[in-house]
């Protein structure tokens, strides 16, 4: 909790730089990344971490695979997808065992879309085709008996474009995260249909957990740099502890002012709403991991043919989070 900018850092300048990609640093679900930096926990561990922000999760992962970065703060399910493609990535700190996503319905359609069963014939927004939001949407619809051919997937992005699409009728419903959710609920332009920011909400929607926000790294790297990974885990788990033990306003105060945009209250509200998803220990829930595989195995064209051969245990490790000591 104490901010020690210069205090305990122990000759960290000599250590190698660790580049971590963040798939949208301003998104609340990836908040731990920037927060750790802001709190100085990387420095405390003697790490020289560079956070690279990119709005597209794909780019983050590509950079990792191309050895341009060592870690990614992104969705856990990418590690499964990558194993299907022959690349070994693993989650080392699991920030949350729920997606943190919310299926929103536009004001106009709030009366007619009451459950995924009503998706038939609708325009459903996702951040991007082939993204986790796409698979989750397909899963939700599929569970309710609506096939992919029965609705239209719209790439609506996140943020303002999503909101504009919802307002203008470009999408009837769509999946997004905070602060977009907070904004939509505040203005009343959208209503929450399914809230996957909490465990019970996720279980209700997906029939199980769905670990998402995480720090994942290449398996080789993890094996070769156990010390660095451990330090990273230490820092992140400490941050997760900070998140669970502080209120939203205190967290928001630690984040850069720009992340709050022009509406600080809205930002605090989004943290309040989403904060519950974070997992104080950073340890993966094994059932959640299996459930993620189940979801992808059903809808991801890459994972589907290989779902039986995928070794889920290679997609994450709990060693570091468990060993993390503050």
């Amino acid at each position: 909790q104490t901010q020690n900018k210069s205090g305990t850092s122990s000759g960290s300048s000599s250590s190698d730089k660790v580049t971590i990609m963040v798939g949208g640093a301003a998104k609340v679900i990836y908040m731990p990344a920037k927060l750790t930096e802001q709190l100085g926990y990387f420095k405390d561990q003697g790490l020289n971490v560079e956070l690279v922000d990119t709005p597209a999760g794909v780019t983050a992962e590509t950079a990792l695979l191309a050895n341009q970065a060592q870690g990614v703060v992104g969705f856990y399910d990418h590690t499964i997808d990558m194993q299907a493609k022959g690349k070994c990535l693993q989650s080392v700190v699991q920030f949350a065992n729920v997606p943190g996503e919310v299926e929103m319905v536009s004001k106009a359609q709030a009366g007619t879309i009451k459950s995924p069963a009503d998706f038939k014939g609708r325009k459903l927004g996702v951040t991007s085709a082939g993204s986790s939001t796409d698979f989750l949407t397909q899963y939700l619809a599929g569970n309710a008996g609506v096939g992919t051919a029965d609705y239209t997937t719209v790439k609506a992005g996140a943020d303002s474009t999503f909101i504009a699409a919802m307002n203008s009728g470009g999408i009837d419903a769509g999946m997004t995260t905070d602060p977009t959710v907070a904004r939509l609920t505040k203005t009343g332009d959208g209503k929450i249909l399914l809230d996957m920011r909490t465990e019970e909400g996720t279980k209700k929607a997906l029939g199980g957990l769905y670990p998402a926000s995480s720090l994942y790294m290449a398996c080789d790297y993890v094996a070769a740099h156990k010390d660095v990974v451990q330090k990273l885990a230490n820092a992140f788990v400490k941050t997760l502890g900070f998140i669970t033990s502080n209120d939203a306003a205190a967290i928001a105060a630690k984040m850069p002012a720009d992340y709050a945009g022009t509406d600080k209250e809205l930002y605090i509200k989004s943290i309040t709403d989403s904060k519950g998803m974070f997992n104080a220990t950073g340890v993966m829930d094994p059932d959640g991991a299996k459930n993620a595989l189940a979801v992808l195995g059903k809808f991801s064209p890459a994972v589907k043919p290989k779902k039986d051969t995928i070794d889920i245990s290679k997609t994450y490790t709990t060693d570091f989070a468990k060993a993390a000591k503050n």
Binding site: D81, A129, T153, V154, K155, G157, G170, I171, S300
Partner: protein
């Protein structure tokens, strides 16, 4: 040029035909070299995960054209993107040419608005694409708008400069002969600027396609941009390159059409001054 005019009549035609054959042969050779080099280096050293390779791309194209894509028939995707690009191209170049020429001849106006146009030109198009989604929605309009802004500026600046470069003698002579402002504009300034405008149009259709694709990237239900973005999202390098390839072919086809138009418009030129597109 020397070669061309050495003989006239039949033999000139023969020379030209031989030249054309040579050009096509060299182009083909270059293509084979590029594709072969790519295929080989990926097979030997590079990771096809990132770089894909021609044979994989070919497979992907075959699938797209026979089985269709995730978003439906490939022709539908091409059609949508082409339509957006074409509209953006037409609007952008039209407005660019008209404004460019008018401002090129209206000095005070040009001086007053030039910093604003320069400023607008520096606005990042991806940011604009997001704004356009907000303003125009997720339909075709926002993509046309993105294509428009990409096309407009190069065309505008070239038309502007072309209008400025007009030979004073020609204008003076026309005025003496009784041409009014509009007639000078139409009979002198526009034809003089033609090669300027055409030069900018060579890049413009490519830009229009890019604009449409950027727009689709930002938010869309169909189109080549979405196809590429889906391929990116699923780490399908072959899909990315296949999408780009289709874009590229579209641009080249547009160039051929533009080339025909250009040859007609610049028929009066001495033969040496053919332009880039005429070379295709």
């Amino acid at each position: 040029m020397l070669r061309d005019s050495r003989r006239t009549g039949r033999s000139a035609v023969a020379v030209r035909r031989r030249h054309k054959t040579l050009v096509y042969a060299l182009r083909l050779l270059l293509l084979v070299l590029i594709l072969g080099g790519w295929e080989l280096s990926v097979s030997l050293w590079l990771d096809p995960f990132f770089y894909s390779k021609p044979s994989l791309i070919w497979d992907k194209l075959v699938i797209w054209f026979t089985d269709g894509t995730a978003q439906g028939s490939i022709w539908a995707q091409i059609g949508v993107t082409l339509q957006e690009a074409a509209l953006g191209f037409i609007l952008g170049s039209l407005v660019g040419v008209v404004l460019g020429i008018l401002l090129g001849r209206a000095r005070l106006l040009a001086e007053v608005v030039s910093p604003y146009i320069q400023a607008l030109n520096a606005v990042p198009r991806i940011v604009l694409a997001a704004l356009f989604v907000i303003w125009f929605g997720l339909g075709m309009e926002s993509k046309i708008a993105t294509a428009f802004v990409l096309v407009f500026f190069p065309v505008f600046f070239n038309a502007f400069q072309g209008a400025r470069e007009v030979d004073r003698n020609l204008v003076n002579n026309a005025r003496i002969l009784g041409a009014g402002r509009a007639q000078v504009l139409w009979s002198i300034v526009v034809p003089s600027s033609t090669s300027w405008i055409l030069a900018s149009l060579h890049t413009a259709f490519g830009f229009a396609l890019i604009g449409a694709i950027v727009g689709e990237y930002t938010g869309a239900t169909r189109g080549l941009g979405l196809l590429i973005s889906t391929a990116q999202g699923s780490f399908d390098a072959a899909g990315i390159y296949a999408g780009m390839l289709i874009t590229t072919v579209l641009a080249l086809l547009a160039e051929v059409v533009l080339g025909l138009a250009e040859r007609r418009l610049l028929r009066w030129r001495p033969p040496a001054q053919a332009s880039f597109v005429a070379a295709i």
